[in-house]
């Protein structure tokens, strides 16, 4: 986790991101005002659309789930000193893995129960995502090919591969649509509304499904891996101080591979959310930019699982709120949401350290003032 040593911890992890967020919102409001709309009501409508109804909340959480996975993917690699920006491709491959398991079962072993199919699909997602990240990882570890370059290339390769498979191999016979056959009813992640219904609670039908629980588990797992496990120690040491890691007997190549495999596995879980949870068939481009949003989520979340959880919620809010706004407000297109996201990334990512200097000075003055009894 990148930290600013000049600031106390609470300022670094809480105040700074909030201030960066506030700045982003301020600039976004200026843009909204510039296009002739009132910023206040617009922002209000955004939050209401995201959190103001059961349906809205569900959609928000459904988006959040995807962002958690792609955010964790970037974060884990980051702790090992790698910038994995291949989340888009790894997530797509995760979806492929999910789909292949389901389609294989449909083809050769129909009738398997959900208790076998669903975990198998989850495993398939993780394996394929990990495998897709493994090649760039190996190239970095053994050949020094920079992960930033190779993972971007692999994003394109993933899209091309998916397209090819869906057109030539997995296409549903009898239609012109670019999609695979529908999975068996057992090969799906149950929706949250169904589970709540079974408990007697009335809840609108939305794409939100039990993968959200997986997301929570993923957060916990990432936290445990990074700070509680021996692997995590080696990973972080490698990322912080390669020379010290070598001194400690840690094999840098192993760490790179491990980081990329885990990272890819996390990204692959997006496939479970989308393919197993929502569509129940393979589709192209279901990731829809979530891989890249994951980079922003990880940056804002300071590469910490808890921060990522919060940042994912923020981005989920923006996505759902933005959709509502585009629906409700004439003159407001979805692109405004991307503008806002971009501004957040700008202030919380690229410009995140701009405020560190002034904040640190302020803090020094406060603390020395308090020591001298000047401030109450």
């Amino acid at each position: 986790m990148s930290t600013n040593a000049s600031l106390p911890r609470w300022m670094d992890l809480l105040l700074l991101p909030l201030m960066n967020l506030a700045l982003a919102m301020a600039v976004a409001s200026a843009v909204v005002w510039a296009i002739g709309l009132e910023p206040g009501p617009v922002i209000g409508l955004l939050f209401k659309g995201a959190w103001g109804s059961a349906s809205g909340i569900s959609y928000t959480l459904y988006y959040t789930t995807t962002f958690v996975f792609t955010g964790l993917a970037v974060a884990v690699a980051f702790h090992a000193g790698l910038f994995n920006i291949g989340g888009e491709g790894q997530a797509a491959m995760g979806g492929l893995g999910t789909g292949l398991v389901a389609l294989a079962a449909l083809q050769w072993m129909p009738g398997l129960p959900a208790t076998i199919l669903v975990p198998a699909m989850v495993l398939g997602a993780m394996l394929f995502g990990a495998a897709w990240a493994a090649v760039p990882g190996a190239l970095q570890a053994w050949r020094g090919s920079h992960v930033v370059i190779t993972t971007i290339m692999f994003n394109f390769l993933a899209a091309a591969l998916m397209g090819y498979l869906l057109v030539e191999v997995l296409k549903e016979p009898g239609t012109m649509d670019l999609q695979s056959r529908a999975f068996e009813p057992a090969a799906r992640m149950p929706g949250v509304h169904e589970c709540l219904l079974a408990l007697g609670v009335d809840w609108p039908a939305t794409p939100l499904n039990l993968t959200a629980v997986l997301a929570v588990l993923a957060i916990a797992a990432a936290w445990w891996l990074l700070w509680k496990s021996r692997s995590g120690y080696d990973l972080r040491a490698s990322g912080h101080a390669p020379a010290a890691a070598q001194y400690a007997g840690i094999d840098p190549r192993r760490q790179v591979m491990l980081a990329m495999l885990v990272s890819g596995a996390f990204a692959g879980l997006v496939g479970v959310n989308e393919i197993a949870g929502v569509h129940q068939r393979l589709l192209p481009d279901f990731v829809a930019g979530a891989g890249f949003a994951g980079i922003a989520v990880s940056l804002i979340g300071r590469n910490h699982p808890l921060g990522i959880a919060l940042a994912s919620l923020l981005f989920g809010t923006l996505y759902q709120g933005g959709a509502e706004l585009a629906f409700e407000v004439p003159g407001f297109s979805r692109d405004m949401v991307f503008t806002l996201q971009g501004l957040i990334v700008l202030f919380a990512g690229a410009l995140s350290t701009v405020l560190v200097g002034p904040l640190a000075r302020l803090h020094r003055r406060w603390s020395s003032g308090a020591a001298q009894g000047v401030w109450p």
Partner: protein, 534 residues
């Protein structure tokens, strides 16, 4: 009286508590070659950095060519006609030699005409000085000697009348050194004034007209070369030293007081042991033969080093830093693999095909306290308890299966902090927040607590306060008294003399000589360190 190219008067420079230059006076005659000699920390690099504008003196004045000047940065230095050729070249590997010369001194934005103009001037200069450099070849494809000529030309083409050369032969082969000296003599004929910073006494004697010897921030000797010799210079460089070593250890109250030693009084290196000694000389704990290591440029940093470490001794490695000491520790601890050589630790042999690794070294109970405390010995963003298990994190007591036993690690850290008086006693505090002395104590605690037999220690007290220095030395002696061996590399000769049983002097990647502590006199050490005796 010949004109004065450079005159520095009353230069004082402090870095915090360190008084790097104490009232230094330097007079350099125009068109001469003036040598500046001294060990590490003597203040010669600081003085030259002040002349070149990297630092500003706290007090004192600088005159160049009879005019008083204020040199606030290297640009002003160059404007005053002072150029510098650094020990570590400041070149862009992927650009051509010509482009490197243009870098930072582009006269206009029209690079094409600027290049042509520069090329013309350089060709003329190369003709005049005889320093040839292929202008259109990428720097990474040029041999070291040629890169150095490039650096010299870079300074000359910017109008340098005074050229400072910082340890110029550190990276050169003997042939290249000869070529360089010929070129430098040629420059002197042209009227360029040369300032040579070095610790190699032979070079001073062969090339310079006048020499200034510095020690502990002061000028201790200034003389015409014709009126001095290597021995005088060596003695002046090293000064009056008292070899405390074993004598001090025998009388001081170490952690075991004047406790019993498992070794006979004659010491393990006296194989012709005195009458009554029945113990057999114990086998070596570590034995290295013919170690050779080439750096990425192909320069041999270790050139056939052999040494033996026996139980119950502290071996000090003396020498001006940059003569292979760092590489020696790296090779012995497994961080670097030598091109040639053999190593034997506790009966297990290693050759370059399958060299020892840091992990294996620890298994064989070889501990390493690295020279680079900040980047190798610790992970600065880690908490103290995390840094305190660096290298030992895979041990049984610290975890089971995949789980890290944090409580065990913290407990071990707390114990280390207690035993070695690390302050503050907070295992959760970030490693970077500890002072240098406390960081070093923590690292030492970590390595010592692992129960090693051999300790490889690099610069144990660099940047450490006085109290901690005594403590660390006492700990090293305690390790020796318990039958272990310590190899200490230090650029502080005082430290080497204070704790060693025998001293190895390294020069140019070789062992220049080895002396038992009783024979470590200033003259002998100075000669060895200055490379006078091979």
């Amino acid at each position: 009286m010949t004109a004065c190219a450079v005159r520095m008067r009353g230069i004082h420079k402090r870095f915090g508590a360190v008084h790097a230059n104490r009232g230094v006076n330097l007079t350099v005659a125009a068109g001469s070659v003036h040598g500046i000699v001294g060990e590490n920390g003597a203040g010669k690099s600081t003085l030259m950095s002040i002349l070149y504008g990297f630092y500003q003196a706290d007090e004192g004045s600088i005159e160049v060519d009879g005019r008083e000047v204020r040199i606030r940065d290297s640009r002003e230095a160059m404007a005053a006609g002072v150029g510098m050729v650094h020990q570590h070249f400041m070149l862009v590997d992927t650009m051509s030699a010509l482009d490197n010369m243009l870098l930072g001194a582009e006269p206009t934005w029209r690079l094409h005409s600027a290049r042509a103009e520069l090329r013309r001037r350089l060709c003329a200069l190369m003709e005049q000085t005889g320093l040839q450099v292929r202008l259109d070849v990428a720097v990474e494809d040029l041999p070291v000697g040629e890169r150095q000529r490039l650096e010299i030309l870079k300074a000359l083409v910017r109008g340098a009348k005074v050229l400072i050369l910082d340890e110029p032969t550190a990276v050169l082969t003997p042939d290249e050194t000869t070529a360089l000296f010929a070129a430098l003599r040629g420059l002197r004929e042209r009227g360029t004034t040369l300032l040579l910073i070095t610790h190699k006494l032979k070079e001073i004697m062969s090339l310079c007209d006048r020499v200034t010897v510095m020690r502990a921030g002061e000028v201790v000797l200034e003389r015409e070369i014709a009126q001095t010799n290597i021995d005088d210079l060596a003695q002046a460089m090293v000064g009056r030293r008292v070899a405390t070593g074993r004598r001090a250890a025998a009388t001081d109250d170490g952690p075991r007081g004047t406790a019993h030693r498992p070794m006979p009084a004659g010491g393990p290196h006296r194989e012709d042991a005195a009458v009554g000694a029945t113990e057999v000389t114990p086998g070596p704990l570590m034995k290295a033969e013919g170690l050779r290591w080439l750096d990425p440029l192909g320069v041999p940093r270790l050139d056939g080093v052999s040494l033996v470490l026996r139980p119950g001794e502290i071996v000090g490695v003396a020498g001006v830093s940059g003569n292979g000491q760092t590489e020696l520790l790296d090779v012995l601890s497994g961080l670097k693999v030598p091109t040639e050589g053999r190593l034997s630790v506790d009966g297990e042999g290693f050759s370059p095909a399958l060299w020892i690794t840091p992990a294996r070294a620890r298994e064989l109970r070889v501990a390493h306290v690295p020279e680079d405390r900040l980047h190798r010995a610790l992970v600065l963003p880690f908490a103290a308890w995390e840094s305190a298990v660096l290298g030992y994190q895979q041990q049984q007591r610290f975890g089971r299966w995949a789980w890290m036993r944090r409580s065990a690690m913290r407990a071990a850290t707390a114990e280390m902090m207690d035993l070695y008086d690390v302050r503050p006693r907070n295992p959760d505090l970030r490693s970077s927040k500890f002072s240098g002395g406390n960081q070093q104590k923590l690292v030492l605690a970590r390595e010592a607590q692992a129960g090693p037999r051999v300790m490889l220690v690099g610069q144990p007290t660099r940047g450490v306060d006085i109290g901690a220095i005594e403590f660390i030395h006492a700990r090293l002696r305690a390790h020796r008294d318990a039958g272990g061996a310590v190899l200490v590399v230090s650029s502080e000769l005082d430290e080497i003399l204070a704790i060693s049983d025998r001293v190895i002097v390294m020069n140019a990647g070789r062992v220049a000589g080895e002396l038992p502590i009783e024979d470590c006199h200033e003259a002998a050490l100075g000669r060895l360190m200055g490379g006078a005796v091979h």
